[in-house]
Amino acid sequence: MVDLGNERPQVPARARNLSPIVPRASIAGRALVAVVAIMTFLASITTGTVLLVSASAAEWQSEIASEITAQVRPAPGRDLDRDAAAAAEAMRMQAGIVEVRSFTKQEAAGLLEPWLGSGFSLDELPVPRVIVARVQPGTMLDMPALRSRVTQAAPTASVDDHRAWIERMRSTTGATVLAGIGILGLVIVATIISVSFATRGAMAANRPIVEVLHFVGAGDRYIANRFLRHFLRLGLQGGIIGGGIAMLGFGFSESIAGWFSGTPVGDQFAALLGTFALRPSGYLALAVQAVLIAAITAWASRRTLFATLDEID
């Protein structure tokens, strides 16, 4: 053969690092990473918030459910202190109750202070006496028996096991969790749609590559494998970025909540959302979700890819 070119060897003896068949960096690829990252971030925020709300609601419920409160109201002709002591004693006798604490007159005044201010005289107000009992966890308390025992000891006493409040709490948190799952569903559907469009855009940009691969005898399976690997990598990149930022956000929110603890704002948030601390299982759920979204990206890309290959054929 005649050499028409320069004789100097151009290629080193070692193996070359071959370029990937589908170029890694492209505008359409970056757009797909951005779309997946944003959708993963939104999905992670939704899931994390749902987990926080349901965890703190469960905490509230278990705390409240393990407590029983009795109120002894003052009545003419009755000794409030004696009635309160009798009611406390009656509660102590009930099976399943492990601790009974009777609030003193001063403690009751302390409870009312945020509403009535300091410096008022408790003697002028018909303030009921509060008795709080702690129930042994896992015990089903016989409430009718307890009520009748307490009212026998102190006729002006009433017993509250917070059942109505817990039911309302349960339905509120249930609705919040359902709404969160609904939003998560919408985010996932939006992810599939936007990823499909972004993939279509990326495939359109890569159409010349598909055509050339056809020219050199590559089958659809070969081409699809190359592109799927490419899109799965982009999906994982987006998932890691979006999920990672969301996890960092949750991690920092814990620290930020810590800085604000003791302030009125911090206390309000702490009362509503607990400690803001996502459990390790929560972080694991977010990581699994990010991988899932990457898989959805690959799946949506696969559908779009085969549709595009059919079009090109």
């Binding site: 053969m1 050499d3 028409l4 004789e7 290629v11 193996a15 370029s19 659809d220």
Partner: protein
């Protein structure tokens, strides 16, 4: 190797642009495909490359009726055909070396097994200096030579070339023709679509002339 029987082709509902084509391309043969612009040369090459299916008639390629082929079978048959298109179709993100080696890569061969072969061919077509260059910085002629090298590297059974010397000077055109002749001598059937009378006059070969959708063969 290739047999066309009463083949017709139309695009959509338009008129038939290829009519009643009856011909054979024997193995190891060499032919020029010529005719005025718009006569259907590129369409005929696309039929031969299985990019288009005939509207009517029988196309038999390597003993297979193309109407009965599935997608993966088409891909397998294409591995036995090399094609050079007018617009080169090089991948801009790959070097000249990688573009030319692409058919081997698609076959799943190790880079070390074809490296020398690719380098030798690139030197043969005068691209020894441009192996690591990306297509956007190649001249038209260099792109054309890279496209030709990619089409012939895997020594296909059938080579289809659409105006392969359109962008090169006459000297290089002659050398490229020699490359096709060498390839033909080593067993590849060659079909070169061209307007270039000078090129055709340089080598005594069968001529397939397309005129008004019909094919006239001059042995």
């Amino acid at each position: 190797m290739v047999r066309f029987e009463n083949v017709g082709l139309r695009y959509g509902l338009g008129p038939e642009i290829l009519r009643d084509l009856n011909f054979q391309i024997p193995a190891h043969s060499f032919q020029f495909l010529t005719g005025p612009s718009g006569a259907g040369k590129t369409s005929l090459l696309k039929l031969l490359f299985l990019s288009l299916r005939p509207t009517r008639g029988l196309v038999n390629l390597f003993g297979r009726d193309v109407a009965l082929l599935g997608k993966e079978e088409v891909a397998d048959l294409r591995k036995r055909i090399g094609i050079v298109l007018q617009d080169f179709r090089l991948l801009d993100h790959m070097t000249t070396y990688e573009n030319v080696a692409l058919p081997f890569r698609v076959m799943g061969r190790e880079e070390s097994s074809y490296r020398k072969e690719v380098i030798d061919l690139l030197k043969w077509v005068g691209l020894g200096e441009r192996m690591d260059a990306l297509p956007p910085i190649l001249s038209g002629g260099e792109k054309q030579r890279a496209a030709i090298a990619r089409a012939v590297i895997s020594r296909p059974h059938l080579l289809l070339a659409d105006e392969p010397t359109g962008n090169v000077d006459p000297t290089l055109g002659r050398r490229l023709l020699r490359l096709f002749i060498e390839l033909n001598k080593s067993g590849t059937a060659v079909i070169i679509a061209t307007h270039d009378i000078t090129l055709m006059d340089q080598y005594e070969a069968r001529r397939l002339v397309l005129h008004q959708g019909r094919l006239h063969i001059y042995e």
